[in-house]
């Protein structure tokens, strides 16, 4: 998408998942949720890059949470969708819907 909101497919998935996990969206939780819900494999690196890009674009914001033993004493970084992120998601969905609506009924009648 080169238009108003540039949002890649995987970025869209991550952004939506952050919204799904509202309040509990940190690295591993996002990764597991995507794997569970969408049945697709997500590498830590890819997810990390996507999160960073989304944050750079202003669609996400983040803050540190508590540290746990299982994380080796490292704090979690919780992510949250920003209003701009919400707009971007709306825009993507609307554009999809417009396209869907525009498809003539006969287009998908496969023989």
């Amino acid at each position: 998408m080169t238009s108003k909101y540039s949002l890649g497919e995987f970025e869209e998935v991550v952004l939506l998942t952050v919204a799904v996990l509202h309040g509990n969206a940190y690295g591993i939780a996002i990764k597991e949720d995507i794997e569970l819900r969408l049945k697709r494999n997500v590498s830590v690196g890819a997810m990390r890059t996507a999160l960073r890009r989304l944050e750079d674009k202003g669609f996400l914001e983040s803050e540190f949470g508590e540290a746990t033993a299982v994380r080796g004493g490292k704090r979690k970084r919780f992510h949250k969708v920003t209003p701009l992120g919400k707009k971007a998601l709306d825009y993507v969905m609307n554009s999809r819907r417009k396209l869907w609506d525009a498809i003539p009924a006969t287009a998908f009648q496969f023989k």
Binding site: Y26, G27, I28, K31, S43, V44, G45, A46, R48, T49, R52, R53, F64, A67, T68, A69, V70, R71, G72, G73, K74, R75, K76, R77
Partner: protein, 865 residues
Amino acid sequence: MRDPSPDIKPPQLPLKVLRWFCDPELLEDIEGDLSELFHSRASKSIYRAKLLYARDVLQLFRPGVIKKFGRFNPVNNIDMLFNHIRTAVRQAGKYKGYTAINIAGLVVGLASCMLILLWVADETSKDQFHEKSDRLYQVWRNLVQSNGDVQTTWGIPFPLEHVLLTQYPEVEAVTSYTWEMEYMFRQEEISSFEKGHFATPGFFDVFSYRLIVGDPKKVLVDGPTIVISDRMALKFFGNDWREKAIGQTIKMDDRTDYEVTGVFEYPGDNSSVQFDWLIGAKQFIDRQTWANSWYNGGFSIFFTLRPGADTEAVRKRIEQEVIKNTNKESNEPLYLQLFSENYLHGTFENGIPVGGRIQYVRILSAIAIFLLLLASINFMNLATARSSLRAREIGVRKVMGAQRSTLSQQFFTEATLYAVASTVVASAIVYLVLPYFNMLTGKSIHIRFSDPMVWLTLGGMIMLTGMLSGAYPAIMLSSFSVAKSLKGRTKQVGGNYFRHALVTFQFAISIFLISGTFIISKQLAYILNKDIGLLRDNLVSIDLTGTLYDKKEVYMNSLRGIPEVKDVTLSSASPINLDMSTGGATWPGKDPNMVIEINVLSVNENFVKTMGMKIVKGEDFSNAFLRDSARFLINEVLADILGFDDPVGKELTVWGTTGTIAGVVGNFHMASMYDPIAPLIIRYSRVDAGTAFVRINANTYDALTSIERVTKDINPAFPFRYEFLDEDFARQYRGERSVSSLVKIFAGVSIFIACLGLLGLSSFSADQRSKEIGVRKVHGASVSSLVLLLSKQYAKLMIIAFIIATPLSYFYMRRWLGDFAYRIDMNVALFIVAGVVTFAIGALTVSYRSYSAALANPVKTLKEE
């Protein structure tokens, strides 16, 4: 927090790798994530979890996660700098001709710039040393004439000082002093003429002149006391004047004794006022009672305001003082000017300062900037013109990983290096020519190398020159594309337009300066050679000092007895420098509301004849004393103002004497050429005339020896002193003449620099086109057609420069000339001559290289590949 199960730990090596490359901002979070993952995976298989951990770390090695490593490793900056310097030196050595042109241009430009800066610094530092200079004011008096003209004078009624002291709480200290006077002082065998003022006690309070010996509170008091300069003290009391001077008596003009009560430091170059003695003003006022009146101005008055006082309120109040105290008889508003501004802003028009020497400071500052710019342009032009020669170097540097910024740095380094070298040479030159420069400008400037300002300025000049000349090459040359520059000779960067524009600019400035020079020197020649209405050559003036004054009849007669002397007369002032005027002259039929200031000159018989003036109407004074003392001569200007058909025989009252007009004298210039000739009354008076004017023949030496002998006979106590009127006249325009010669020299410098640049450019383009010229020659082109081919483009530029420069020059010179009441007409021929001169010099420069290029044997130029 401690790990709950110490034996199950993430693998250390991948963790270390991660910590090395990971952005520290993300590290904590990622480490935590990986650790959490590891623990959940480890519950199944530790081995597998470790493997996956390593894989995840590997997958994290991607942009966005990797930390930002510095784009450069900063350690080789110094090495690069050395490399740049080495390259620059090699380049300079390789192309010696261009280097010479660059350095010569910069050296000449910088040296001129430094000299001008020194001059400007000297001018602007005048009178700035007074500690209270930010609240030290001088009072000026505006004489409003009924025709609307305003004459501004330093002469202020003396009673104002008392008013300021007693009625103005804002005023801290006041002082007044008389105009500069010269007397002969004697102490035992030693005698000399010294200049100074009568001043009131506030003098050392208001000004910051330093009193070396004596109590500032006790000098200049009412009694017959004097303070003298250290120069004068040394002259009279020898080396130990510090101990000896105080309490001694000095005789003034062999009449009055004064006791020395203090010695002050001679004002020196930083002061616009110079004086060797000061005597209490009371001594003057007691004898010259006229000066102590609201109707006469004989003193310059200065005062300091208390810190924080409301200047505007004081200004408003002071303005009315003379008007108030003369019951509105004199419409003479007073004006306040900061004393520190007076030196540069000393020209008044309509009662307010409109400029003065600041004009010359501005002109020369502009020239300094122009010259630096001209020299920098040469550097720029040559660097870009020859860019193709350096294309490969730039290409290779880029391939080896040089950033654009590094290349820019390289060219800046190169330019700065040139600037440093040129500044060193230029400083040496300035040091050597400074004595001549001082001679030319009549200043005594010297460079104090201990002054940090000198070094700061030099450093600033290096930086500025480096920046100016390096900027364009740095931007243009570093923008070469690698592929193109490596392929071989690229096109010259920046296009010819820019370079041509710069050359045009250089020549426009040169033409501007040259035509300015022409006009200034023509105007000066006009002033200095103008028929001023009297014959000023071979006219000697001698002040009647000592016994000469009492024995003036005898003296005049003995002078007349000298064969080389043609005529002798006495006058109250030099006819080219009148110092008396009155607003109180009346005549029958004068409009009672008319206010007019008329100059008055008191003379003896033979005045008109000795001066070589002309009687236009009526007759000269005859020798009959009684008859002449009731008769006046007037000049043509006054005759016009009186308005009679024939003024001869009409009545006139001046200074209480009523008489008739005997004749009308042809106008002569009695003040500077900046002012129109003013109305004048010449009256006959034996008492007031204190200067002898002697017309001698061409045998100057014999005449002066005889005059000296006669003078010494009558007045043996005083040294013989005389002045030539023509020298006195020329001295009035000393400032103009020194500025004119400065402008002349720097106009020459500007055309020299511009031609150097032209020489470089034309040589380069001749080199570049050597093959083309060879081919043309082989095909039969003549030398002259080739020279024309190579020179044509520059001719065009010079014509454009002429078209740009001429109107600008016309505009500015008209403004400069506008200050003169008597001035030359600016005709087109002047500008054309300036243009042709510049054009000829430029054409010679270009054709010099074009000619040798055209002469070259085509076999040689075509052979090399």
